[in-house]
Subunit: 464 residues, 2 copies
Amino acid sequence: MSGEDAPAQQQNAEEQKQQQQQQESKTPAESPKTESKPDPPPSSASTEAAAADTPAPAAEKAPEEDTFSYRALVLTGYGGYDKVKLQVKKGKPALKSGEVMVRVKMCGLNFADLMARQGLYDRLPSPPVTPGMECSGIIEAVGEDVTDRKVGDKVLVLNRSGMWQEVVVVATTHTFLMPEGMSFEEAAALPVNYITAYLMLFDFGHLRPNQSVLIHMAAGGVGIAATQLCKTVNDVTVFGTASASKHEVISQGGVTHTIDYRTRDYVEEIRKISPKGLDIVLDPLGGSDTHKGYNLLKPMGKLVSYGAANMLAGQKKNLFVVAKTWYQQFSVHTLSLIQGNRSVCGFHLGYLDSETELIAQAMAAVMDLYRQGKIKPRIDSTYHLEQVGDAMRRMQERNNIGKIILTTEPMKEEEKKEEAKKDEEKKKDDKKKDDKKKEDKKKDDAKKDDKKAEEKEEAKKEEN
Amino acid sequence: MSGEDAPAQQQNAEEQKQQQQQQESKTPAESPKTESKPDPPPSSASTEAAAADTPAPAAEKAPEEDTFSYRALVLTGYGGYDKVKLQVKKGKPALKSGEVMVRVKMCGLNFADLMARQGLYDRLPSPPVTPGMECSGIIEAVGEDVTDRKVGDKVLVLNRSGMWQEVVVVATTHTFLMPEGMSFEEAAALPVNYITAYLMLFDFGHLRPNQSVLIHMAAGGVGIAATQLCKTVNDVTVFGTASASKHEVISQGGVTHTIDYRTRDYVEEIRKISPKGLDIVLDPLGGSDTHKGYNLLKPMGKLVSYGAANMLAGQKKNLFVVAKTWYQQFSVHTLSLIQGNRSVCGFHLGYLDSETELIAQAMAAVMDLYRQGKIKPRIDSTYHLEQVGDAMRRMQERNNIGKIILTTEPMKEEEKKEEAKKDEEKKKDDKKKDDKKKEDKKKDDAKKDDKKAEEKEEAKKEEN
């Protein structure tokens, strides 16, 4: 089961942490997000990395292993966007039997990565660690007993973590051959979003013709994947929530009824069109939205909860929002389910990493749909590894329509200079925002104090 | 929605109750379970019966309507087996548009009927009321606008209640034509068990080849239906719990691994064979068994809760057992579902009575499987209406393998005499059991008193 490899990882993470602490004592923690060169670097950030920490016997050490280096994003601690730093790892990762080494072209960004950065996702080993659940690239080396992959194969990779770097080492079972005509961007955009949407809609949801589905965050990666998959079934009505500026795009993508959740009560809007309710609700939000979704279900309806995006209220963990979302988190009694003939499901791909057969089946089905032209990942934007903070911000602030991609292609020098300028401005901007918040809080406190004083006065008056 | 017709029913039930109270003041409540002739009788116990209470205009009254009478089982109040009495109803039920009148041949007995008799099933209108969710028979009259049924059609009927009588009036949408070659017993055995098993396994469960299913009470009506339906999918492993004496029959019926839940821990037995757990658990028991079932689920596994049979501990409601089952009833948090990638569903056909399209689709699929010879209801035993108490006892004590059927065919005179003798003996037996229970309780109490006295002595000694 998926928990079995945890001790090894823990150990690895611990070792990495010690290395990181040594290194952090040399460089200031708030150093700008540019290439730092830790020494010695963790040799691999894949979940099977423990073995890579064992040094190869000195006699066998080839010169290449000394000179081999690659850039990797590393989460250095929980917190804001700047906690993910671009570093250089040295030394060629060792390949175990059944593993392949992939030269990464593109990586996918997911909501779980944002949660992980704030320390809200328990499937990522403790920092320092390389995040990232998916990437695409070309096989550069194969381990012993690997017969189904060869050097030069274009693959997409799905893994528990460690995909945001130029070189990854994974079991072949975590790689899938890219179909003809698929771009590396598409390949990196596909695994997490489409497998998630596929299993939720067709395994838990048992979607059939003439049914109705609610898709929250319909312009997000899973949202667009789910909409496209709904359209592979006849006469499915899709309700999609998104801010108004995204409605045109998601309508063209297949959403039947767009709802601006910022200005409308989506429950009311849905009841107007579909008084009996819905067959399937996909819920990435958690908290009170899960209750609403549950109450929107028809008899034989299914709610699939697959996240708690409501917990994310800023770039750093907001304990009040986390606690509120947690407190409001939905729990249900079987007698309520029986009386409503309802189903409540929970889904997260991150907890399915050991279910290789299940994933392979779903992937095969998704690939077939891609080949038939029925699905096509929509790329919102592509960022360099150096720009990972901007990429995360775009997702967190829900400005994307479709998938956000990280490319391993190095940034040009002039781009870097521009980026540095922008970074400075952003920092100033963030500082201003922080200062304003503090100012507002002071004002608020002052007002409260005034009010308290007034109340005391009142109380005194009444006493007299 | 299904609740909309409740007020009419309530009203009808209220009227019936008043009639019943008048009648009960004439006859002792403990009268033997033979034909009593209430006057005036409720004219129909179907859920659409409210209209039948409206007297037809006197001028139009045909003599037939005066002489028309039929036998009906009536639940006269909540309690033991003797609360269901055979009565005669007089007056021909009125037919509304879209309704048909069916001359009933056979009726099916279900677990919900046992729950209902104890007042544990809220879908049955208050007593006095005719129970029964399914029957088979021949159409005797059709209402206006009925084009899809004609007099003489053999049908099976699925309805919220009111099917345990010789004549029923229902909407045509609640009737289904019997396939060629199907007996009336089979037709009465099919609707509730097979639609329940079908929707649980294929809609909520999304059963696929190579999966594993746990079926509790595998020798019961739903259990046998579910086993047969599992066998329509390739390589499904069925774990079936039942007492040892039934194992041979259920093995022949398709159960892969039989487990005697009385002598074995079924969780352990299943883990031995299937360490990773199960894809689907069908749970009619409730209470602590739901927790066990949930913990047996694989990733992407589905638990379908469809009853609380654990609440039934004797022929009368046992408040302690009800409270215990209720207290232990399963409730689940979405975060637990997400981490386990699991689904928890609730099912009860009784709450789906307004979902005619859904039921019709499932029925069509089940009928197809019957025609292909892939499913065949197994009849455990057939009882006369007069023997409904025995029939219920057999089900409650879980002595049946397959479906228990009530036939409307009148009992022969000599059978009746024998029945009366048996009844006397059973009553004596029940009284003995009750006396023994009381005796045991007294002894227990006495022991407790002794113990308390001893404890007090001890305490005193210690104090000194």
